[in-house]
């Protein structure tokens, strides 16, 4: 089931375990340790890098969009074991809630347009239900053109650093579109992490790496 991408069972299991908090700490502490230099060398990103003592978050490093106007801290831990990764993720959830609350306050005012609601309100004969509007999300716009440049754009996904390397070709279709999946690159370290651990710890390590196989395989 984890192959399709369902990771909520991992969280449910972790929540159940937190009821028996001592057992949880014993099960995750010291499992799958990654040192700081190793984490940088293996190219990890996201919660795995931050749990190993590196204070690296693309939202602060790249200064993109409006994250500079909001007041939030990078969650990081030293001691790169599964417990540290878990704490980083929980801390990130809390920080995200704070970010959302601050962002809600600075939404600019003014009227907004909601075509879908208008279409449903007017019923079958409205102009919004026309042939043209039905396919409006399926056709590319007539002025869309990818100029002949190459770009590497990155964003901070929950897994890590999601990068897209795009080489345009002066047309609607790109010449090369490579996605740098954070899960793929975070998975490289798995054989090294599993060395010397008990068989039952593989599930803990895999859960803490937080893998979505769909992103790995593409």
């Amino acid at each position: 089931m984890a192959d399709i991408g369902a990771q909520t069972p991992f969280f449910y299991i972790l929540r159940e375990r937190e009821m028996i908090y001592d057992l949880f700490e014993a099960a995750t502490e010291g499992i799958g340790i990654i040192g700081r230099e190793e984490a940088i060398n293996w190219g990890l990103s996201g919660p795995m890098l931050r749990a190993s003592g590196v204070k690296w978050d693309l939202r602060k490093v790249d200064h993109y969009e409006c994250y500079d106007e909001l007041d939030w801290q990078i969650q990081w831990q030293i001691g790169g074991d599964s417990l540290a990764r878990y704490l980083v993720r929980i801390g990130e959830m809390r920080e995200s809630v704070k970010i959302i609350q601050q962002a809600l306050k600075i939404i600019p005012g003014g009227p907004f347009e909601n075509l879908e609601a208008r279409r449903l309100h007017r019923g079958k004969n409205s102009e919004w239900n026309d042939f043209e509007y039905q396919f409006i999300s399926k056709k590319p716009s007539p002025t869309f053109k990818l100029p002949k440049q190459e770009h590497y754009i990155r964003a901070e996904a929950p897994k890590g650093e999601l990068g897209i390397f795009l080489i345009g070709d002066d047309s609607v279709f790109p010449w090369r579109w490579k996605i740098r999946p954070p899960g793929f690159i975070n998975l490289q370290i798995l054989p090294q992490l599993v060395k010397g651990m008990k068989l039952a710890d593989i599930m803990t390590i895999l859960g803490s790496v937080d893998i979505i196989m769909g992103e790995v395989d593409r």
Binding site: E38, I40, N41, W42, G43, L44, L49, V54, K55, W56, K60, V61, D62, H63, Q149, E150, H151, Y152, R154, E161, G163, F165, I167, W175, R176, K178, R180, F184, I185, L187, Q188, I189, D217, R218
Partner: protein, 158 residues
């Protein structure tokens, strides 16, 4: 104008060719495949400790294949750190690039993926085998002159 890294490499007399700057200000250099290992060590010494992504593409159908590496410096509390983009061009008939796995381990799966999709052999890479396609696949899928085999699912269903 040459970027900082280009000036530093020229001072150490390492062969490279600066390709100017990207549309976001990222310095781009072109390196020959024979010199790549020594320059990679020099980059690690310079401070680039994070291989962000390794990508491969073909420049023109029938032309060269290119392998692109993006490096950056990861520090605590970083603030738009230096980054560089290295391109290595190889011929289509004999694409061989020395593997940088032993310097930056993050090249492990990524080099395997560019081997699988475009056929670029990375020398001295441990366990270089196909990663996304099945092991017995023939052909390099992402090359521009690749012909997709006639799958049952792709034929028109009437």
């Amino acid at each position: 104008i040459r970027g900082r890294l280009s000036v530093w490499l020229a001072k150490k007399k390492l062969a490279h060719r600066p390709l100017g700057f990207d549309y976001q200000g990222v310095e781009t250099l072109q390196i020959r495949s024979e010199d790549w290992l020594s320059i990679a060590v020099a980059l690690y010494v310079y401070g680039f400790n994070y291989l962000r992504s390794q990508c491969a593409y073909d420049v023109a159908p029938g032309g060269l294949l290119a392998s692109v590496y993006h490096f950056t410096k990861v520090q605590d509390d970083a603030d738009q750190p230096e980054e560089v983009c290295i391109k290595v061009f190889v011929s289509r008939q004999n694409p061989k690039i020395p593997s940088i796995f032993w310097i930056w381990k993050s090249a492990d799966f990524q080099e395997r993926e560019s081997y699988d999709m475009l056929g670029i052999t990375h020398e001295s890479h441990p366990r270089l085998k196909r990663i996304l396609m099945p092991d017995s696949w023939i052909g390099w899928p992402l090359r521009k002159d690749y012909i997709v085999p006639d799958f049952y699912e792709l034929q028109d269903a009437y």
